[in-house]
């Protein structure tokens, strides 16, 4: 399994990472090197084995439905790149 340049560009676009002209080739060779390492997995017969998401297969704990969080807008927005009237500002979103 190896990634084409188009794969690299598609993945970078999905991940919203800009790639400079010519950069895709570097990513491609490095990532394909890693996929050669990963390919070792494919030899293992995993039929009938349950995927393991967490060690020891624990289950979800539930929270009581209570409002516990105060309004910390001022503190949180003090570290925001751009805010106005309590809103986070971003380049125009077109629907």
């Amino acid at each position: 399994m190896s990634l084409s340049l188009q794969d690299v560009e598609r993945v970078a676009s999905l991940a919203r990472i800009a790639i400079a002209p010519g950069e895709a080739e570097t990513w491609q060779s490095q990532i394909n090197g890693i996929f050669e390492l990963i390919a070792g997995m494919q030899a293992v017969d995993t039929n009938g084995i349950e995927p393991m998401a967490h060690a020891r297969d624990p289950v979800q704990r539930l929270r009581t439905d209570e409002v516990t969080e105060p309004d910390l807008r001022e503190k949180f927005q003090a570290i925001a790149p751009q805010v106005e009237a309590g809103l986070y500002l971003v380049p125009q979103v077109i629907e």
Partner: protein, 485 residues
């Protein structure tokens, strides 16, 4: 004071032979002096540190102090700390002042510990040499040309160089144990779920676990007493009784069954490391332990499995860094997509981007089953290997890393070679088991060798005891790097 263990420091503070302020000042002075060379700290905040020391002294004077009150420590810069810059060693968070405390940070505050600063690390904990930091590499106090290991390289170097008596670290695939081994200190990665992940900037959520880094097992046990405990804010935090991690320190080793996985002693292991590990095992036998061979056949696949699962989880965990609510935003951009793409291209370093792209790829349409699900299945096989091995032994031992600290820049251009540095540690994270690294000698270039100890689930106290007994019989953990002596 800088060579004293926590027990001695605690006694000195309690007896008022030294104040917390004096202790903090002494460490801050050492940081001032040595950090420009070692680069173990990203941020120090002397005013805040001295304020905490004052508070600790007041607790000591009022008689409300606990065993750790007034003890300085360093936090890996992956832990959010209210009012402190928290960067995760990334340009993305270069100016991010955290508005809240991580659970671990809060517990250490409650214990009266005094934060000396935030330690350098690989960017977002992705790396094995601390060279991916936006704030520059950390140098190994034993040899300034060598890396300290990673990702908790700053914490490891700080403890080794006596810039802090203890430090927090995190370990996703070996990030506490491998740098501990490379800098000659002691580090513990607890059972997954024992230490809360709340406020610890996530790399791979199902593998990340915080733990103590210190010069000795005893110090690790004492810090662990502060760090561990149930946290309702972390769904993966385990609801268990609080325990005293120092309780088994005095337990003798007679009859201890040490399992030696044959896969950990095969090709790829450097001769110097093999020799030091063999000598350590001989010491354990002298202390009354017996060694048995065990097998972890699937562990050979732990690196492939890890490099599917960890990047997959990371690719989603790092999506929140989008330049909207905090952190870096590109200075110039066109539309929204352009803002995202430039912000993330500028804010993340190469290794982080590489892993995000790998993770994005393995989760994308058509590849999910072949990579992600396959890796999760093999993850179960790896965990089952350990379960079988623990039927035959009480603890598993082997090398922490296949080689000692390598030179700065030696593996920068070859990600795969770098990844192999974690070949013995990753399986432990995949299985969620507790693991330690303790110093057990030096290579021919006087770079430290680490011995890895792997316990069964919740076996931290026993592991710490097994390490402590060895440290009572040896002095590797007391050696001081010449450059910082």
């Amino acid at each position: 004071m800088i060579n004293e263990g926590l027990k001695q420091l605690s006694a000195a503070l309690a007896a008022r032979r030294i104040s917390s302020e004096e202790l903090a000042r002494e460490y801050l002075a050492r940081i001032d002096q040595l950090n420009p060379q070692i680069n173990a700290f990203i941020t120090v905040n002397p005013d805040a540190t001295m304020q905490e020391a004052k508070t600790a002294d007041a607790m000591l004077a009022a008689g409300t102090a606990g065993p750790l009150t007034g003890i300085p420590l360093a936090h890996k810069d992956i832990f959010c700390m209210d009012g402190w810059r928290t960067t995760c060693a990334s340009r993305m968070l270069e100016n991010f002042v955290a508005p809240y405390d991580a659970h671990v940070v809060g517990l250490c505050r409650q214990a009266g510990m005094v934060c000396l600063g935030k330690t350098n690390m690989d960017e977002f904990a992705m790396g094995s040499s601390n060279e991916t930091s936006w704030f520059g590499p950390v140098r190994n106090p034993w040899d300034m040309q060598a890396v300290p290991g990673g990702s908790s390289g700053g914490s490891a170097a700080a403890v080794a160089a006596r810039l802090a008596p203890v430090a927090t670290g995190t370990d996703t695939g070996g990030s506490i144990r491998q740098p501990a081994a490379m800098t000659g200190i002691t580090g513990l990665k607890p059972t997954y779920g024992v230490v809360s992940r709340y406020g610890m900037i996530a790399f791979a959520s199902s593998l990340d676990q915080a733990g103590p880094m210190a010069r000795s097992a005893e110090d690790c046990a004492m810090l662990m007493n502060a760090m561990a405990g149930f946290d309702a804010r972390d769904s993966t935090s385990l609801e268990r009784e609080r325990e005293d991690y120092t309780r088994d320190l005095g337990q003798p080793l007679a009859g201890l069954r040490i399992g030696l996985p044959k896969e950990f002693f095969a090709a790829g292991l450097s001769g110097d490391v093999a020799r030091a590990v063999d000598e350590a095992l001989a010491e354990y036998r002298r202390l009354g332990a017996v060694t048995v061979e065990v097998s972890l056949p699937s562990s050979a696949l732990s690196i492939p499995v890890y490099y599917v699962l960890a990047p997959a989880e990371a690719s989603a965990n790092l999506s929140r860094f989008d330049g909207v609510r905090y952190g870096h935003r590109a200075a110039e951009y066109g539309d929204l997509t352009d803002m995202y793409q430039k912000t993330r291209a500028e804010g993340f370093g190469a290794e982080v981007k590489r892993r995000i792209m790998i993770g994005t790829y393995v989760l994308s349409h058509g590849y999910y089953d072949a990579y992600y699900i396959k890796a999760q299945k093999i993850r179960r096989l790896i965990a089952e290997d350990f379960a079988k091995a623990f039927a035959e032994c009480d603890v598993i031992m082997g090398p922490t890393a296949p080689e000692t600290a390598f030179d700065l820049g030696a593996k920068n251009s070859d990600p795969v070679a770098m990844y192999l540095s974690d070949i013995y540690t990753i399986a432990v994270n995949l299985a969620g088991l507790p693991g330690m690294s303790i110093p057990c000698g030096f290579d021919s270039r006087q770079r430290p060798v680490g011995l890895q100890l792997i316990g069964n689930y919740f076996g931290e106290a026993r592991l710490l005891g097994i390490a402590h007994q060895y440290q009572l019989a040896t002095d590797w953990h007391q050696r001081v790097p010449a450059a910082v002596a």
